[in-house]
């Protein structure tokens, strides 16, 4: 009995000293967009390997989760693929949080279908009609006689909100849309479903070798019914906003960034970070976003 007690005490003592010995450095919590989670994870890992003193944890959950996290002060950086809603800004001010936004990459939101779908391009209006549930058969778009099967994200996703605002022009999604947990799940479903259409960030189109996933078809999108259609893989079209569903990917912090957070943001938006952004399939930030970032650092 006594022996056991001594052993137990020894173990507790050991554990306590181990805990005390662990460096008391602050973990930077990054939360939000599922579109960005892989990208930011890799950025954070690279940054940590260059700066061993930095500690960061990146989790997804959707843009809404990140924004709520920053407002409730449960994270330091919020990833979001849509802009903040006025309601969220109000909430932030009420809680004394003054968000500053940094664009870290640009995404060409890609409209994808199964590889067996013969369609090559759609107009913005057609994509909107598809997702509002007004077009229920591919025949209506000149495709095969096959029912449209809609895939989308869940309402906590920034991509869901972005699509609703910019493509569905603030109308309701069709209730037939299957709401998936993440972009990877949308891709898996589209590979199997011949009538499928879905939307994902451009970085999700690549496999681990940097090639486009086989069995996927990325549609070219035109702004006007008779306009030229562009691919989200065309960097120039995304940069010049000729590709109509391009969008900036943001990180938000509370107040003027300082310390490790500021250094991380600087590095991400600098040449080294942007090189990784490009490698992961997203697009680097252009001049006006850079100028906007500069302003927010001050």
């Amino acid at each position: 009995m006594k022996k056991m007690l001594i052993t137990a005490l020894a173990i507790i003592g050991l554990l306590a000293s181990a805990a005390a010995a662990a460096p008391a450095r602050k973990m930077i919590q990054i939360k939000g967009s599922d579109t960005m989670v892989n990208l930011v994870q890799i950025l954070a890992e690279e940054y940590m390997s260059l700066n061993p003193a930095a500690a960061m944890a990146v989790i997804g959950g959707g843009s809404g989760t990140g924004v709520t996290g920053l407002i409730n002060k449960t994270c330091d950086i919020a990833n979001h693929s849509r802009e903040w809603k006025p309601k969220e800004m109000d909430q932030a001010w009420e809680k004394g949080v003054s968000p500053r936004f940094f664009v870290i990459a640009v995404d060409g939101l890609s409209i994808i279908v199964n590889g067996k779908n013969p369609l090559e391009k759609l107009t913005m209006a057609q994509v909107g009609a598809l997702y509002r549930g007004e077009i229920k058969n591919w025949k209506m778009l000149g495709g095969p006689d096959k029912a449209v099967s809609l895939y989308g994200r869940q309402s906590n996703s920034g991509t869901y909100t972005f699509m609703q605002e910019h493509v569905l022009v603030n109308k309701n999604y069709s209730t037939d849309m299957k709401e998936m947990n993440g972009s990877a799940q949308i891709i898996e479903s589209i590979l199997q479903d011949e009538g499928a259409v879905g939307y994902v960030g451009v970085g999700y189109l690549y496999d681990k070798d940097g090639k486009i996933r086989s069995g996927l078809k990325i549609l070219n999108i035109s702004k006007e019914p008779n306009g030229q259609a562009y691919s989200p893989l065309d960097k120039e079209a995304v940069d010049t906003k000729k590709y109509p569903v391009a969008r900036p990917l943001y990180q938000a912090v509370n107040g003027r960034p300082s310390g490790e957070i500021a250094r991380f943001l600087m590095w991400e938006t600098g040449p080294e970070g942007q090189k990784i952004v490009e490698r992961e399939g997203f697009y680097t930030i252009g001049g006006d976003y850079q100028a906007q970032n500069e302003k927010n650092f001050k």
């Binding site: 959707g62 709401e179 499928a196």
Partner: protein, 297 residues
């Protein structure tokens, strides 16, 4: 003398410990119910109760008009649960009967632990199987293009409910006094007749309890259905339609909902409906159990 006094104290201490544990369980239940009720009720300041329960459209973040009707989700939950029970109950009882009456003891020693291990598989893993294995298979069998529908959810929930049903049914079959079976065989009944007409009826209360527990598991399960049923908000018209269950909706939306808004309260109201549903299931199970126990006496 001294020792007996000490043991008396010990005994009363132990008794107090068990009593407090029992009371704690009750307090936790009451606490949960009150919290749920208090957070759910404000939802009805803006939503009409009949609209909440009997309207089909749920779209709280709609840019057009927020709608709070959960009928589609209630039907979705019931559909998936009924489907899973239709699969799991016959299979579960058959396996239990096999294990208790037919199987060689060596087979039983292997199969029973394996069935129990099945219960330990995390629900995410089951959901993943639904996406990569059952989904494509269902799509091919029913020619539906994709397998994210109520059938998929039912199959997965049946897998998850099976260990409970098998394990408890088998225990209750084994608890039937051997004299029952022996008497039946002595009267010239075959083994099949003995099993179906004597043993299973004698163990019925336990088997029903097992099925109800399995049903409880199926109604409350979240992650698996969230991953495998597609979560479409449309009203389901059959097992091949994609469904959204109440649990999945709470899980999807609670993470991002702004606190203390109608949407937030409405999610708790869904939780309350779910609570009432499982409560009714339990009450029915209890009534059936008592009825059969009385008959046995």
């Amino acid at each position: 003398m001294k020792k007996s006094k000490r043991s008396k104290i010990k005994e009363s201490a132990i008794r107090a410990f068990f009593l407090s544990s029992g009371v704690l369980a009750v307090l936790v239940l009451i606490g949960i119910f009150i919290t749920l009720l208090a957070t759910a009720v404000p939802a009805f300041r803006e939503i009409h109760l009949s609209e909440f329960l009997f309207k089909k459209n749920w779209d709280p973040t709609s840019p057009e008009k927020a709608e709070y009707g959960i009928l589609s989700m209630i039907v979705g939950t019931l559909l998936v649960t009924a489907g899973s029970l239709a699969l799991a109950v016959p299979i579960g009882i058959a396996v239990a009967a096999y294990l208790s009456d037919v199987a060689h003891w060596r087979v039983r020693e292997i199969v029973k632990p394996v069935v129990e291990i099945l219960a330990g598989i995390p629900s995410v893993v089951v959901g993943f199987l639904g996406i990569v294995l059952f989904g494509p298979a269902i799509a091919r069998i029913f020619h539906t293009g994709n397998g994210l529908n109520a059938v998929n959810g039912s199959v997965l929930l049946a897998i998850m409910a099976l260990p409970t049903i098998i394990s408890i049914s088998e225990d209750s079959l084994n608890a039937v006094p051997p004299a029952y079976g022996e008497a039946s065989l002595a009267l010239g009944a075959s083994r099949w007749q003995t099993l179906v007409r004597v043993k299973i009826p004698a163990a019925l209360s336990g088997i029903i309890a097992a099925c109800m527990l399995g049903m409880g598991r199926a109604i409350g399960e979240t992650m698996t259905v969230l991953m495998a049923t597609g979560n479409a908000r449309a009203f389901p018209h059959g097992f091949l339609d994609s469904v959204r269950t109440m649990t999945a909706d709470i899980a999807i939306e609670l993470g991002e909902v702004p606190y203390y808004t109608t949407h937030y309260y409405a999610l708790f109201a869904i939780g309350l409906v779910l609570f009432v549903m499982t409560f009714i299931v339990n009450v029915i199970a209890d009534v059936i159990l008592h009825k059969y126990q009385e008959r046995e006496l």
